[in-house]
Symmetry: C2
Subunit: 99 residues, 2 copies
């Protein structure tokens, strides 16, 4: 499996709008086991995106999906910056498909 | 929802053993929507644990479960340190129960 943990800073006051766009755009992505959009509990402009994919190729392919492209286009102006991105290899756990 | 993103450093060479203990101990936790154990893709001793709970109380209660207590007891000697812990409010996304 292929995983990503990303920290995203929204433009001031735009976090909720950005989160809604991300959730709408990522509802149906082949090969995606988990894509959780979460607010930072202490920083009002930060979102955390944690992703689990069957493979890096599935993640790469998702970027060409019309819904994902539309979300990127709509969301980009609301993003102040990507503060960190970690690449992982998920091993398993509750909430993932058994494999 | 209540979320946690934690970075855990294993004792050198002990990451796989620690991951196995964590996965075994967390297979059945009430109120847990997701508990993903993942290897860092570049640091050979680092695990990332990403958790989604229905509530902070569910997470708190899990620490008293016999399987979780056993995992903590067995895993602790294999942990070199907790390098970061972020608290989040997951909003949703594929892989979580609808709510």
């Amino acid at each position: 499996m292929h995983g990503l943990i990303g920290k995203l800073r929204a433009q001031p006051g735009q976090r909720a709008a950005l989160a809604a766009i991300l959730l709408e755009g990522t509802a149906a992505m082949p090969g995606c086991q988990s894509y959780v959009v979460a607010e930072d509990a202490t920083d009002a402009d930060v979102l955390w995106i944690t992703e689990v994919w069957n493979s890096a190729a599935d993640h790469e392919a998702s970027l060409a999906l019309p819904a994902v492209r539309a979300a990127i286009t709509r969301g980009r102006p609301l993003i102040a910056g990507f503060e960190s991105q970690v690449r992982t290899r998920p091993l398993g756990g509750p909430g993932l498909a058994a494999d």
